[in-house]
Symmetry: C2
Subunit: 207 residues, 2 copies
Amino acid sequence: MKHIADSTVRRLSLYLRFLEEFERHGHATISSGELARSGGTTSAQVRKDLSFFGSFGKRGLGYGVSDLIASLRHILGLEARWPVVIVGAGKIGAALAQYRGFGTHGFDVVGVYDTDPARVGEALNGVPVRPDAQLEADIAALRPRIAVLCVPGEAAQPVLDRVVAAGIRAVLNFAPAALTAPEGVTVRTVNMATELEVLAFALTNAP
Amino acid sequence: MKHIADSTVRRLSLYLRFLEEFERHGHATISSGELARSGGTTSAQVRKDLSFFGSFGKRGLGYGVSDLIASLRHILGLEARWPVVIVGAGKIGAALAQYRGFGTHGFDVVGVYDTDPARVGEALNGVPVRPDAQLEADIAALRPRIAVLCVPGEAAQPVLDRVVAAGIRAVLNFAPAALTAPEGVTVRTVNMATELEVLAFALTNAP
DNA sequence: AGTTGTGAAACGTTTCACAGCT
DNA sequence: AGCTGTGAAACGTTTCACAACT
Protein backbone atom coordinates (compact mmCIF):
# COMPACT_ATOMS: atom_id res chain seq x y z
CA MET A 1 0.00 0.00 0.00
CA LYS A 2 0.99 3.57 -0.71
CA HIS A 3 2.30 5.38 2.34
CA ILE A 4 -0.43 6.99 4.43
CA ALA A 5 0.30 10.32 6.10
CA ASP A 6 0.18 10.53 9.84
CA SER A 7 -2.22 13.46 9.56
CA THR A 8 -4.60 11.29 7.55
CA VAL A 9 -4.63 8.52 10.17
CA ARG A 10 -5.29 11.03 12.94
CA ARG A 11 -8.24 12.42 11.02
CA LEU A 12 -9.64 8.94 10.38
CA SER A 13 -9.61 8.40 14.14
CA LEU A 14 -11.48 11.68 14.59
CA TYR A 15 -14.03 10.80 11.92
CA LEU A 16 -14.68 7.55 13.77
CA ARG A 17 -15.42 9.49 16.98
CA PHE A 18 -17.96 11.65 15.18
CA LEU A 19 -19.56 8.77 13.35
CA GLU A 20 -20.09 6.96 16.65
CA GLU A 21 -21.72 10.15 17.95
CA PHE A 22 -23.89 10.37 14.83
CA GLU A 23 -24.94 6.74 15.19
CA ARG A 24 -25.98 7.31 18.81
CA HIS A 25 -28.14 10.18 17.55
CA GLY A 26 -29.84 7.79 15.15
CA HIS A 27 -28.52 9.19 11.87
CA ALA A 28 -28.24 6.64 9.07
CA THR A 29 -26.25 8.60 6.49
CA ILE A 30 -23.78 11.45 6.53
CA SER A 31 -22.14 13.54 3.82
CA SER A 32 -18.46 14.39 3.61
CA GLY A 33 -19.44 18.00 4.28
CA GLU A 34 -21.19 17.19 7.57
CA LEU A 35 -18.29 15.00 8.68
CA ALA A 36 -15.87 17.78 7.76
CA ARG A 37 -17.76 20.36 9.80
CA SER A 38 -17.58 18.17 12.92
CA GLY A 39 -13.88 17.55 12.47
CA GLY A 40 -12.77 21.05 11.55
CA THR A 41 -11.64 20.15 8.04
CA THR A 42 -13.05 20.27 4.49
CA SER A 43 -15.28 17.90 2.54
CA ALA A 44 -12.54 17.36 -0.06
CA GLN A 45 -10.13 16.38 2.70
CA VAL A 46 -12.58 13.83 4.10
CA ARG A 47 -13.13 12.28 0.67
CA LYS A 48 -9.41 12.24 -0.10
CA ASP A 49 -8.58 10.62 3.25
CA LEU A 50 -11.10 7.85 2.61
CA SER A 51 -10.10 7.43 -1.04
CA PHE A 52 -6.69 6.05 -0.03
CA PHE A 53 -8.48 2.97 1.25
CA GLY A 54 -11.31 2.47 -1.21
CA SER A 55 -14.68 4.02 -1.96
CA PHE A 56 -17.21 3.83 0.80
CA GLY A 57 -19.92 6.32 -0.19
CA LYS A 58 -22.83 6.52 -2.57
CA ARG A 59 -22.76 9.42 -5.02
CA GLY A 60 -25.66 11.76 -4.43
CA LEU A 61 -26.32 10.24 -1.00
CA GLY A 62 -23.25 10.29 1.20
CA TYR A 63 -21.98 7.54 3.48
CA GLY A 64 -23.89 4.96 5.47
CA VAL A 65 -22.96 5.77 9.08
CA SER A 66 -22.70 2.22 10.39
CA ASP A 67 -20.98 0.99 7.21
CA LEU A 68 -18.40 3.73 7.44
CA ILE A 69 -17.84 3.01 11.15
CA ALA A 70 -17.18 -0.62 10.26
CA SER A 71 -14.84 0.37 7.42
CA LEU A 72 -12.88 2.78 9.59
CA ARG A 73 -12.58 0.25 12.38
CA HIS A 74 -11.22 -2.20 9.82
CA ILE A 75 -8.78 0.34 8.37
CA LEU A 76 -7.48 1.38 11.78
CA GLY A 77 -7.07 -2.23 12.88
CA LEU A 78 -9.71 -2.07 15.61
CA GLU A 79 -11.55 -5.27 14.81
CA ALA A 80 -9.71 -7.21 17.50
CA ARG A 81 -8.85 -5.87 20.95
CA TRP A 82 -5.28 -4.76 21.63
CA PRO A 83 -3.54 -5.78 24.85
CA VAL A 84 -1.43 -2.99 26.37
CA VAL A 85 1.11 -2.79 29.18
CA ILE A 86 1.68 0.37 31.18
CA VAL A 87 5.19 0.81 32.56
CA GLY A 88 5.34 3.12 35.58
CA ALA A 89 2.58 3.35 38.20
CA GLY A 90 3.30 6.91 39.31
CA LYS A 91 0.75 9.69 39.03
CA ILE A 92 0.37 9.55 35.26
CA GLY A 93 0.64 5.78 34.92
CA ALA A 94 -1.93 5.22 37.66
CA ALA A 95 -4.26 7.82 36.13
CA LEU A 96 -4.04 6.14 32.73
CA ALA A 97 -4.51 2.65 34.16
CA GLN A 98 -7.80 3.85 35.62
CA TYR A 99 -8.93 5.65 32.47
CA ARG A 100 -12.11 3.95 31.24
CA GLY A 101 -11.57 5.14 27.67
CA PHE A 102 -8.86 2.52 27.17
CA GLY A 103 -11.36 -0.30 27.42
CA THR A 104 -14.19 1.37 25.53
CA HIS A 105 -11.92 1.94 22.54
CA GLY A 106 -10.70 -1.62 22.24
CA PHE A 107 -7.52 -1.55 24.29
CA ASP A 108 -7.04 -3.83 27.32
CA VAL A 109 -4.54 -3.00 30.02
CA VAL A 110 -3.07 -6.39 30.87
CA GLY A 111 -0.33 -5.22 33.20
CA VAL A 112 1.03 -2.23 35.09
CA TYR A 113 4.69 -2.32 36.17
CA ASP A 114 6.68 -0.40 38.75
CA THR A 115 10.06 -0.64 40.45
CA ASP A 116 8.70 0.69 43.76
CA PRO A 117 7.80 -2.27 46.04
CA ALA A 118 5.35 0.02 47.86
CA ARG A 119 3.24 0.30 44.72
CA VAL A 120 3.49 -3.35 43.67
CA GLY A 121 0.40 -5.32 44.63
CA GLU A 122 -1.95 -2.35 44.46
CA ALA A 123 -4.82 -2.92 42.03
CA LEU A 124 -5.62 -0.18 39.56
CA ASN A 125 -9.02 -0.63 38.01
CA GLY A 126 -8.73 -4.39 38.52
CA VAL A 127 -5.24 -4.67 37.04
CA PRO A 128 -2.58 -5.43 39.66
CA VAL A 129 0.69 -3.49 39.71
CA ARG A 130 3.46 -6.01 39.17
CA PRO A 131 7.21 -5.80 39.79
CA ASP A 132 9.19 -4.19 37.01
CA ALA A 133 11.45 -7.28 36.91
CA GLN A 134 8.44 -9.25 35.67
CA LEU A 135 8.04 -7.08 32.57
CA GLU A 136 9.90 -9.28 30.08
CA ALA A 137 8.32 -12.51 31.29
CA ASP A 138 4.85 -11.01 31.15
CA ILE A 139 5.36 -9.61 27.66
CA ALA A 140 6.41 -13.09 26.56
CA ALA A 141 3.36 -14.66 28.22
CA LEU A 142 0.60 -12.10 27.59
CA ARG A 143 1.86 -10.85 24.19
CA PRO A 144 0.77 -7.21 24.51
CA ARG A 145 1.40 -5.31 21.28
CA ILE A 146 1.62 -1.79 22.73
CA ALA A 147 3.56 -0.38 25.70
CA VAL A 148 2.71 2.94 27.37
CA LEU A 149 5.69 4.50 29.14
CA CYS A 150 4.99 6.60 32.24
CA VAL A 151 8.44 6.42 33.81
CA PRO A 152 10.81 9.28 34.72
CA GLY A 153 12.65 10.80 31.75
CA GLU A 154 16.00 9.16 32.43
CA ALA A 155 14.39 5.70 32.67
CA ALA A 156 12.48 5.99 29.39
CA GLN A 157 15.19 4.93 26.91
CA PRO A 158 16.30 1.86 28.93
CA VAL A 159 12.67 0.76 29.37
CA LEU A 160 12.03 1.32 25.66
CA ASP A 161 15.02 -0.86 24.80
CA ARG A 162 13.74 -3.59 27.11
CA VAL A 163 10.19 -3.68 25.74
CA VAL A 164 11.50 -3.63 22.17
CA ALA A 165 13.85 -6.52 22.96
CA ALA A 166 10.84 -8.35 24.40
CA GLY A 167 8.94 -7.94 21.11
CA ILE A 168 6.89 -4.74 21.47
CA ARG A 169 6.62 -2.76 18.20
CA ALA A 170 4.45 0.22 19.24
CA VAL A 171 5.08 2.59 22.12
CA LEU A 172 3.23 5.58 23.51
CA ASN A 173 5.69 7.63 25.55
CA PHE A 174 4.58 10.08 28.24
CA ALA A 175 8.07 10.40 29.70
CA PRO A 176 9.78 13.74 29.07
CA ALA A 177 12.48 12.29 26.81
CA ALA A 178 13.19 12.03 23.08
CA LEU A 179 13.55 8.35 22.32
CA THR A 180 15.31 6.45 19.59
CA ALA A 181 14.01 3.09 18.45
CA PRO A 182 15.07 0.68 15.74
CA GLU A 183 13.41 0.59 12.31
CA GLY A 184 10.01 -1.05 12.49
CA VAL A 185 9.16 0.24 15.97
CA THR A 186 6.64 3.09 16.11
CA VAL A 187 7.09 5.52 19.00
CA ARG A 188 4.75 8.41 19.69
CA THR A 189 5.79 10.87 22.39
CA VAL A 190 3.39 13.14 24.24
CA ASN A 191 5.50 15.83 25.87
CA MET A 192 3.84 18.27 28.23
CA ALA A 193 6.69 20.79 28.06
CA THR A 194 6.55 20.92 24.25
CA GLU A 195 2.76 21.30 24.22
CA LEU A 196 2.93 24.19 26.68
CA GLU A 197 5.81 25.82 24.82
CA VAL A 198 3.87 25.70 21.55
CA LEU A 199 1.08 27.54 23.38
CA ALA A 200 3.54 30.07 24.85
CA PHE A 201 4.90 30.68 21.34
CA ALA A 202 1.39 31.20 19.99
CA LEU A 203 0.57 33.68 22.77
CA THR A 204 3.86 35.52 22.33
CA ASN A 205 3.37 35.90 18.59
CA ALA A 206 -0.33 36.68 18.74
CA PRO A 207 -1.73 39.34 16.41
CA MET B 1 6.51 37.86 10.72
CA LYS B 2 6.19 35.10 8.16
CA HIS B 3 4.05 32.23 9.39
CA ILE B 4 6.01 29.60 11.33
CA ALA B 5 5.02 25.95 10.92
CA ASP B 6 3.82 24.06 13.94
CA SER B 7 6.43 21.38 13.24
CA THR B 8 9.16 24.01 13.42
CA VAL B 9 7.99 25.27 16.83
CA ARG B 10 7.86 21.72 18.19
CA ARG B 11 11.40 21.10 17.03
CA LEU B 12 12.61 24.35 18.58
CA SER B 13 11.20 23.11 21.90
CA LEU B 14 13.06 19.83 21.43
CA TYR B 15 16.32 21.61 20.58
CA LEU B 16 15.96 23.60 23.79
CA ARG B 17 15.67 20.35 25.81
CA PHE B 18 18.88 19.03 24.26
CA LEU B 19 20.76 22.27 24.63
CA GLU B 20 19.91 22.32 28.35
CA GLU B 21 21.25 18.77 28.55
CA PHE B 22 24.40 19.81 26.67
CA GLU B 23 24.90 22.76 28.98
CA ARG B 24 24.63 20.54 32.07
CA HIS B 25 27.35 18.36 30.51
CA GLY B 26 29.57 21.42 30.25
CA HIS B 27 29.64 21.78 26.46
CA ALA B 28 30.17 25.35 25.23
CA THR B 29 29.43 24.95 21.53
CA ILE B 30 27.35 22.62 19.37
CA SER B 31 26.99 22.16 15.62
CA SER B 32 23.71 21.82 13.76
CA GLY B 33 24.71 18.20 13.04
CA GLU B 34 25.09 17.30 16.71
CA LEU B 35 21.80 18.98 17.57
CA ALA B 36 20.13 17.14 14.70
CA ARG B 37 21.39 13.76 15.87
CA SER B 38 19.93 14.32 19.36
CA GLY B 39 16.60 15.40 17.95
CA GLY B 40 16.19 12.80 15.21
CA THR B 41 16.33 15.28 12.36
CA THR B 42 18.90 16.67 9.91
CA SER B 43 21.45 19.46 10.18
CA ALA B 44 19.79 21.34 7.32
CA GLN B 45 16.48 21.18 9.14
CA VAL B 46 18.02 22.60 12.31
CA ARG B 47 19.62 25.48 10.40
CA LYS B 48 16.44 26.17 8.46
CA ASP B 49 14.32 26.19 11.64
CA LEU B 50 16.65 28.71 13.26
CA SER B 51 16.99 30.82 10.11
CA PHE B 52 13.34 31.89 10.35
CA PHE B 53 14.26 33.90 13.45
CA GLY B 54 17.74 35.18 12.66
CA SER B 55 21.29 33.88 12.53
CA PHE B 56 22.63 32.55 15.77
CA GLY B 57 25.73 30.57 14.80
CA LYS B 58 29.33 31.17 13.80
CA ARG B 59 30.40 29.68 10.46
CA GLY B 60 33.07 27.07 10.97
CA LEU B 61 32.32 26.84 14.69
CA GLY B 62 28.67 26.10 15.36
CA TYR B 63 26.42 27.63 18.00
CA GLY B 64 27.25 28.85 21.50
CA VAL B 65 25.18 26.58 23.73
CA SER B 66 24.15 29.15 26.32
CA ASP B 67 23.58 31.84 23.67
CA LEU B 68 21.33 29.53 21.68
CA ILE B 69 19.43 28.55 24.83
CA ALA B 70 18.81 32.23 25.52
CA SER B 71 17.73 32.83 21.91
CA LEU B 72 15.35 29.88 21.90
CA ARG B 73 13.85 30.89 25.23
CA HIS B 74 13.28 34.33 23.77
CA ILE B 75 11.76 32.96 20.55
CA LEU B 76 9.42 30.61 22.39
CA GLY B 77 8.34 33.32 24.79
CA LEU B 78 9.82 31.71 27.89
CA GLU B 79 11.53 34.75 29.36
CA ALA B 80 8.69 35.38 31.79
CA ARG B 81 6.79 32.70 33.68
CA TRP B 82 3.32 31.71 32.45
CA PRO B 83 0.47 31.32 34.95
CA VAL B 84 -1.76 28.34 34.16
CA VAL B 85 -5.11 27.08 35.47
CA ILE B 86 -6.06 23.42 35.45
CA VAL B 87 -9.79 22.71 35.14
CA GLY B 88 -10.77 19.30 36.49
CA ALA B 89 -9.12 17.65 39.50
CA GLY B 90 -9.85 14.06 38.54
CA LYS B 91 -7.13 11.48 37.93
CA ILE B 92 -5.45 13.30 35.05
CA GLY B 93 -5.93 16.82 36.40
CA ALA B 94 -4.55 15.84 39.80
CA ALA B 95 -1.60 14.03 38.19
CA LEU B 96 -0.76 17.10 36.10
CA ALA B 97 -1.14 19.49 39.04
CA GLN B 98 1.50 17.48 40.86
CA TYR B 99 3.85 17.23 37.88
CA ARG B 100 7.07 19.03 38.76
CA GLY B 101 7.97 19.63 35.12
CA PHE B 102 5.38 22.41 34.93
CA GLY B 103 7.35 24.58 37.32
CA THR B 104 10.80 23.73 36.02
CA HIS B 105 9.79 24.78 32.50
CA GLY B 106 8.44 28.17 33.45
CA PHE B 107 4.75 27.46 33.97
CA ASP B 108 3.04 28.15 37.30
CA VAL B 109 -0.16 26.39 38.25
CA VAL B 110 -2.14 29.14 39.98
CA GLY B 111 -5.40 27.28 40.38
CA VAL B 112 -7.07 23.88 40.07
CA TYR B 113 -10.87 23.79 39.69
CA ASP B 114 -13.46 21.08 40.22
CA THR B 115 -17.23 20.82 40.54
CA ASP B 116 -17.03 18.00 43.10
CA PRO B 117 -17.25 19.50 46.63
CA ALA B 118 -15.42 16.42 47.95
CA ARG B 119 -12.31 17.42 45.99
CA VAL B 120 -12.50 21.15 46.72
CA GLY B 121 -10.15 22.18 49.49
CA GLU B 122 -7.63 19.43 48.83
CA ALA B 123 -4.15 20.80 48.14
CA LEU B 124 -2.27 19.42 45.15
CA ASN B 125 1.40 20.24 45.29
CA GLY B 126 0.62 23.35 47.32
CA VAL B 127 -2.14 24.57 44.99
CA PRO B 128 -5.61 24.29 46.53
CA VAL B 129 -8.49 22.84 44.54
CA ARG B 130 -11.11 25.57 44.26
CA PRO B 131 -14.80 25.43 43.33
CA ASP B 132 -15.51 25.44 39.64
CA ALA B 133 -17.85 28.42 40.17
CA GLN B 134 -14.79 30.47 41.15
CA LEU B 135 -13.13 29.94 37.75
CA GLU B 136 -14.19 33.20 36.07
CA ALA B 137 -13.44 35.35 39.10
CA ASP B 138 -10.02 33.77 39.53
CA ILE B 139 -9.12 34.19 35.85
CA ALA B 140 -10.05 37.85 36.18
CA ALA B 141 -7.94 38.21 39.32
CA LEU B 142 -4.92 36.01 38.62
CA ARG B 143 -4.76 36.57 34.83
CA PRO B 144 -3.55 33.12 33.79
CA ARG B 145 -2.81 32.97 30.06
CA ILE B 146 -3.22 29.20 29.57
CA ALA B 147 -5.94 26.76 30.66
CA VAL B 148 -5.44 22.99 30.82
CA LEU B 149 -8.71 21.07 30.49
CA CYS B 150 -8.96 17.73 32.30
CA VAL B 151 -12.72 17.47 32.46
CA PRO B 152 -15.02 14.74 31.05
CA GLY B 153 -15.55 14.91 27.28
CA GLU B 154 -19.04 16.35 27.40
CA ALA B 155 -17.94 19.16 29.75
CA ALA B 156 -14.99 20.24 27.60
CA GLN B 157 -16.73 22.55 25.12
CA PRO B 158 -18.74 24.44 27.77
CA VAL B 159 -15.61 24.88 29.91
CA LEU B 160 -13.65 26.04 26.85
CA ASP B 161 -16.33 28.62 26.10
CA ARG B 162 -16.21 29.85 29.70
CA VAL B 163 -12.41 30.25 29.87
CA VAL B 164 -12.38 31.96 26.46
CA ALA B 165 -15.11 34.35 27.60
CA ALA B 166 -12.97 35.06 30.68
CA GLY B 167 -10.00 36.02 28.49
CA ILE B 168 -7.94 32.85 28.03
CA ARG B 169 -6.35 32.58 24.55
CA ALA B 170 -4.43 29.27 24.78
CA VAL B 171 -5.82 25.91 25.84
CA LEU B 172 -4.32 22.46 26.27
CA ASN B 173 -7.16 19.94 26.14
CA PHE B 174 -6.86 16.43 27.60
CA ALA B 175 -10.59 15.78 27.40
CA PRO B 176 -11.69 13.28 24.75
CA ALA B 177 -13.51 15.85 22.62
CA ALA B 178 -12.87 17.85 19.47
CA LEU B 179 -13.26 21.48 20.38
CA THR B 180 -14.10 24.56 18.40
CA ALA B 181 -12.79 27.93 19.48
CA PRO B 182 -13.05 31.41 17.98
CA GLU B 183 -10.30 32.91 15.82
CA GLY B 184 -7.33 33.97 17.92
CA VAL B 185 -7.66 31.16 20.46
CA THR B 186 -5.11 28.35 20.17
CA VAL B 187 -6.33 24.93 21.25
CA ARG B 188 -4.13 21.82 21.33
CA THR B 189 -5.84 18.53 22.05
CA VAL B 190 -4.06 15.45 23.37
CA ASN B 191 -6.37 12.52 22.73
CA MET B 192 -5.44 9.13 24.13
CA ALA B 193 -7.81 7.24 21.84
CA THR B 194 -6.31 8.84 18.73
CA GLU B 195 -2.75 8.17 19.86
CA LEU B 196 -3.54 4.51 20.49
CA GLU B 197 -5.40 4.17 17.21
CA VAL B 198 -2.45 5.59 15.28
CA LEU B 199 -0.34 2.87 16.92
CA ALA B 200 -2.91 0.19 16.11
CA PHE B 201 -2.89 1.37 12.48
CA ALA B 202 0.91 1.22 12.37
CA LEU B 203 0.91 -2.32 13.80
CA THR B 204 -1.83 -3.47 11.45
CA ASN B 205 -0.01 -2.14 8.39
CA ALA B 206 3.46 -3.20 9.49
CA PRO B 207 5.82 -4.65 6.86
C1' DA C 1 38.99 22.88 7.06
C1' DG C 2 34.75 23.31 8.97
C1' DT C 3 30.21 24.97 9.58
C1' DT C 4 26.58 28.27 8.86
C1' DG C 5 22.78 30.47 6.20
C1' DT C 6 19.92 30.20 2.29
C1' DG C 7 18.03 30.09 -2.46
C1' DA C 8 16.47 26.36 -5.46
C1' DA C 9 14.82 21.65 -6.11
C1' DA C 10 12.36 17.84 -4.46
C1' DC C 11 8.87 16.07 -2.07
C1' DG C 12 4.45 15.72 0.44
C1' DT C 13 -0.17 17.46 1.60
C1' DT C 14 -4.23 20.06 0.82
C1' DT C 15 -7.42 22.29 -2.12
C1' DC C 16 -9.71 22.75 -6.44
C1' DA C 17 -12.81 21.53 -9.89
C1' DC C 18 -15.35 18.50 -12.39
C1' DA C 19 -16.56 13.94 -14.49
C1' DG C 20 -19.25 10.20 -13.08
C1' DC C 21 -22.65 7.92 -10.62
C1' DT C 22 -27.23 7.47 -7.90
C1' DA D 1 -30.07 17.62 -8.30
C1' DG D 2 -26.75 16.11 -5.24
C1' DC D 3 -22.69 14.09 -3.59
C1' DT D 4 -18.68 11.11 -4.30
C1' DG D 5 -14.11 10.00 -6.13
C1' DT D 6 -10.04 11.73 -8.18
C1' DG D 7 -6.58 13.78 -11.32
C1' DA D 8 -4.40 18.31 -11.52
C1' DA D 9 -3.04 22.63 -9.38
C1' DA D 10 -1.66 25.06 -5.46
C1' DC D 11 0.54 25.28 -1.45
C1' DG D 12 3.70 24.08 2.34
C1' DT D 13 7.72 21.61 4.19
C1' DT D 14 12.01 19.31 3.84
C1' DT D 15 16.23 18.34 1.56
C1' DC D 16 19.98 19.67 -1.35
C1' DA D 17 23.97 22.03 -2.50
C1' DC D 18 26.97 25.66 -2.28
C1' DA D 19 28.57 30.48 -1.49
C1' DA D 20 29.97 32.99 2.52
C1' DC D 21 32.32 33.31 6.47
C1' DT D 22 35.50 32.10 10.65
